[in-house]
C-alpha cells in the first residue's frame, strides 16, 4: 500500500483574493485558453437557464441544447464505438475500443472473442459529469473525452448513461452504476490477459466521480473486484462552508448556490448535504477500514471551489488505510480536461495511463 503526502492546505490557495462579492469574470479568463473559456462559460450560461428556483429542471430545453453524437462502428482516429441498450431499463452503455488492425473487420462488432489472450487490456467504466443533472453518455464533450482516454491510455472505455436528477434522485445513479459494473464484469468479450478476466477500473468527473466512489464501496462490500478508481474533481460536499468554497465562490465558473441546487435535486427530499452520498466521510459517513477498496487516483483542480471537500475525501481514504494518490493541479479549473490545449490535460492522461497499466 503506497501512501502519498497530500498537499498542505496552506498551499491550496495561492491567488490574490480581492474579497469582492461580485462575479469577476476576468480572473477565469486569465487562467484558461480562450476557447476553453468560451466552452465552459457557454455551459455555465445554459445551465443557469435550465435550473428553476422551485427545484425543477427544464429537461426539454436541456436536451435541445446538449450537443450529442451517435456511436460510430467505423474507427475515427483509431477509436470506434457502439451502444448497448439494456432492454429492461432502456439505458445504454457506450463502448469505446481501439480500432482493430484488420481494416476488413471495421464496422463489425466482435462479441465472441476476448480483447486479448496475451496482454492485459484495462476496461474503464466511465461516469460522465454534469452534477447529476446534466449531460449524457452521448454528449459530444464526453464522447470526445472517452475517445481520447482510449487512444492515450490504451484502454477500453464503457460510458454509462445513468439516470439523472431531479427526475431520478439518489440512489438511482448508483444503482445504474452498479448494474453497469456487473454487466462489464460479465462480458466475455471484455476479458483479457492470460487468466481471461475483465480488468475493470472505474472513472468519473464531477458527479461521475461521486458515483464511482459509491459503486466501488458496494463492489468492495459485495466482493466484486475493481482494480482502481479515477476521480476527476469529484462532486462531494457537506453542510459546513469550507475555506475554498468561501474564497472561490463565483470566481472560476462555479457558484456555491448552484452546487446547493444540484444537491437538493439529487439527495432524498428533506436530506441535507451531510447525507453520506454527498459527504461520505462526514458526520453520517462510515469508515472503509478493512474493506478491499480499490486504489484511487484523485485529481483535484486548484481553482475548484470544492477542493477542500475533495481533499477531505482523500484524507478519509487515507484514514481508512486505503491506497490513494492525489494529483493536485494548482492552476487548473473545472473542466480542464475537455480540450487538450493545456498541460493539465496531458499530465492527467499520463497519470491515468500509468494507473491502469501498473506493470508497464
Amino acid at each position: 500500500m503506497r501512501r502519498h503526502k497530500r498537499a498542505k492546505k496552506t498551499n491550496i490557495i495561492d491567488i490574490n483574493m480581492a474579497g469582492s462579492n461580485e462575479v469577476n469574470l476576468n480572473e477565469s479568463k486569465s487562467v484558461v485558453p480562450l476557447n476553453t473559456w468560451v466552452l465552459i462559460s457557454n455551459f455555465k450560461l445554459a445551465y443557469n437557464l435550465l435550473r428553476r428556483a422551485d427545484g425543477t429542471f427544464n429537461r426539454e430545453l436541456a436536451e435541445f441544447l446538449d450537443r450529442k453524437v451517435p456511436a460510430n462502428t467505423i474507427p475515427v482516429d483509431g477509436v470506434f464505438s457502439f451502444d448497448h441498450v439494456d432492454r429492461n431499463s432502456g439505458l445504454f452503455n457506450r463502448v469505446y475500443q481501439p480500432a482493430p488492425e484488420n481494416v476488413t473487420t471495421w464496422g463489425i462488432i466482435e462479441l465472441e472473442k476476448p480483447l486479448s489472450t496475451t496482454e492485459i487490456v484495462p476496461v474503464i467504466i466511465f461516469f460522465h459529469g454534469g452534477s447529476f443533472s446534466h449531460s449524457s453518455a452521448n454528449s459530444a464533450i464526453y464522447d470526445t473525452f472517452c475517445r481520447r482516454l482510449v487512444s492515450m491510455c490504451k484502454a477500453v472505455v464503457v460510458s454509462v448513461n445513468y439516470r439523472r436528477s431531479p427526475e431520478h434522485r439518489y440512489p438511482c445513479a448508483y444503482e445504474d452504476g452498479w448494474n453497469a459494473l456487473n454487466w462489464v464484469k460479465s462480458r466475455t468479450w471484455l476479458q483479457s490477459g492470460k487468466d481471461s478476466k475483465v480488468y475493470a477500473y472505474m472513472a468519473g468527473d464531477s458527479s461521475g466521480g461521486n458515483i464511482a466512489h459509491h459503486v466501488a464501496v458496494r463492489a468492495a462490500e459485495e466482493d466484486v473486484e475493481v482494480l482502481g478508481n479515477i476521480l476527476l474533481h469529484p462532486l462531494f460536499g457537506g453542510e459546513k462552508r469550507t475555506e475554498s468554497e468561501k474564497k472561490l465562490d463565483g470566481k472560476y465558473f462555479v457558484r456555491l448556490q448552484d452546487r446547493d441546487w444540484y444537491w437538493r435535486a439529487f439527495l432524498p427530499e428533506g436530506e441535507d448535504r451531510d447525507h453520506p452520498a454527498c459527504n461520505p466521510f462526514g458526520p453520517k459517513g462510515k469508515s472503509l477500514v478493512g474493506l478491499k477498496f480499490p486504489k484511487s487516483l484523485v485529481c483535484v483542480a486548484g481553482l475548484d471551489l470544492l477542493q477542500d471537500w475533495q481533499l477531505e475525501y482523500v484524507e478519509g481514504l487515507e484514514n481508512s488505510d486505503q491506497d490513494v494518490k492525489l494529483l493536485y493541479l494548482k492552476e487548473a479549473t473545472i473542466g480542464f480536461y475537455f480540450l487538450p490545449n493545456n498541460d493539465h490535460f496531458y499530465c492527467l492522461m499520463n497519470e491515468i495511463n500509468t494507473f491502469v497499466h501498473p506493470n508497464c
Binding site: 462575479v23 469574470l25 479568463k29 480562450l34 476557447n35 473559456w37 468560451v38 466552452l39 462559460s41 457557454n42 455555465k44 450560461l45 445554459a46 443557469n48 437557464l49 435550465l50 435550473r51 428553476r52 428556483a53 427544464n58 426539454e60 430545453l61 436536451e63 435541445f64 441544447l65 450537443r67 450529442k68 453524437v69 451517435p70 456511436a71 462502428t73 451502444d83 441498450v85 432492454r87 429492461n88 432502456g90 445504454f92 457506450r94 476488413t104 464496422g107 463489425i108 462488432i109 462479441l111 465472441e112 449524457s136 453518455a137 452521448n138 454528449s139 459530444a140 464533450i141 470526445t144 448513461n161 475537455f338 480540450l339 487538450p340 490545449n341
Partner: protein, 501 residues
Amino acid sequence: MEIVSDSSSPSKTKDIDGLLANVGYKVRSSELHQVAQNLERLESAIVNSSSDISQFASDTVHYDPSDIGNWVDNLLSEFDHTASLPYDFSQLPDLSAPPPQHHHHQSSSTVNNVEEDSAIKLVHMLMTCADSVQRGNLSLAGSLIEGMQGLLANMNTNSGIGKVAGYFIDALNRRIFGQNNVSHQVSLYENDVLYHHYYEACPYLKFAHFTANQAILEAFNGHDCVHVIDFNLMHGLQWPALIQALALRPGGPPFLRLTGIGPPSPDDRDNLREIGLRLAELARSVNVRFAFRGVAAWRLEDVKPWMLQVSSKEAVAVNSIFQLHRLLGSESDSNYHSGIEMVLGWIRSLNPKIVTVVEQEANHNENGFMERFTEALHYYSTVFDSLEACPVEPDKAMAEMYLQREICNVVCCEGPARVERHEPLVKWKERLGKAGFRPLHLGSNAFKQASMLLTLFSAEGYCVEENQGSLTLGWHSRPLIAASAWQAVPLLDAETLRFDC
C-alpha cells in the same frame, strides 16, 4: 423560424476552432473574443436583472445551439426586448404538460445465454455471407445461407435479431439466386395498405409530417396565397393537420392550393383526385379556401415544373418526405444532369418559400456492397427494435413488411432499380447547399412539440435531438430520420434559370 445565410466559402470554414468543433460547437477563431464578450454581457445582464431567467429561457425560441455566437446574440436581443415588457401570460404555451406515461415495454423474449450465443453467431455468418457475395463466391454464400437458416430454426424469430436477420438472409438469398433488380413486386394497393399500417405502428411518418407542417406553417405567415407541393401524396395524411392549423391562424386562413404528386392509378381509378376531394371536403368544413391538383407520374424525374402551375404571387412550399433519395440512382440526362440535380434545379426555379425535407438518417448508398449491408443491418436492427414497442396488430406486422421491402431493395438491387439510396443529413446538406439552398433552422418550439408528440406513444426509447438546425428522431441514442427545412438562395441578376419551365 430562423433564416441562416450560407457561409460555405473555404476560408471561412478553415477558421472554425477545431477543438470546439470536436465537442459540437462552431465558433470561428477570429470571433472567439467577440463571443466571449457577449457571454460576459449576457451574464451581467442576467445577474443584474430581477426577471425569472428560467421562465425567460422557456419562452424564448432557441436555434442551433452549436452556433454559440448566434445563440448568445439571440438571447441578448430577446433579453433586452423582454426585460422591459410586462408579461402577457395568455401568450405562453402550456409548459406544465403532464409527465410522459411510462409504459415499459416488456421484451417478448427473454434472451438466455444460448440465445445470445446464437445471435452473435448469426450476425457473424451474415457478415461473412455478405463478404462472400461481394467477392463473388456464391457457393460459399449459398452454404452460409443454409447454415443461417438452420440456426434460425432454433431461435426466436418473433423479435430481436432473429427477426431482422431473417429478412436480411432472405434478401441475400434473392440476390444470390439472381433476383437482383426484381424488387419485391408489390401492387400499388398493397403498397398503400402497408404504408398506412407503417404510419400507425410507429412515429416516424407522424414526426416527419408534424415537423414539416410546423415549418411550413411558420413560412406561410403573412401570406394570403399559399401553394404546397407534395412529392408523394399517398393518402394525404399530412395535410388535414396543416389545413386545420391554417384555419385557426390569427388573421384568418390563406387560400391554400395543394398539388399532390403520385403514381398513375390502375384501371379507371383516379386515386389522386379522390384524396384531393376528401381534403377539399375537410377544408370546406373549416372554411379554408382550397384547390387541389393531382400530378400523376411514376418518377419525380418525369415531373416538369410547368405541370405544377406555380404563380409568382404564391408562397410555395415543396414537401419531400422520403423521396429525394430515390433520385440518386437515376442516370444523367442528355444535358449531363443527374436526376437529383435536375429536380433540385427545378425546385429552385419555383423560388419556394420553404422546402421541407425528411430523409432516413443512414448511409445506404455506398457502392461497396459490404459497407451498405453492414450499415443497413445496424440501421434496420434499430428500427425493428423500436417497432417491438408497438403493441398493435396488424399494424406492427404490416409495418415490418413495409420495411422488409426497403431492406430487400438496399440489399438485392443495383442500378436504377435500387431506389432506397438513403444518405445521411450531412450529405444532403452538401447537396442542397450546392444546388442553391440555404438552411432554415427548426427551433426549440418545434423540438418541444415533437417531444410532446412522442409522449403520446407508449414506448419509451424514442428521442428527438437537435442537430445544427435540423431535428432527428431516433431510437435510444441512434438517430433514424432527419427533418430539415430549406429556402432558395435568391438568384443573382446575372444568373439565369437553366431549366425549361
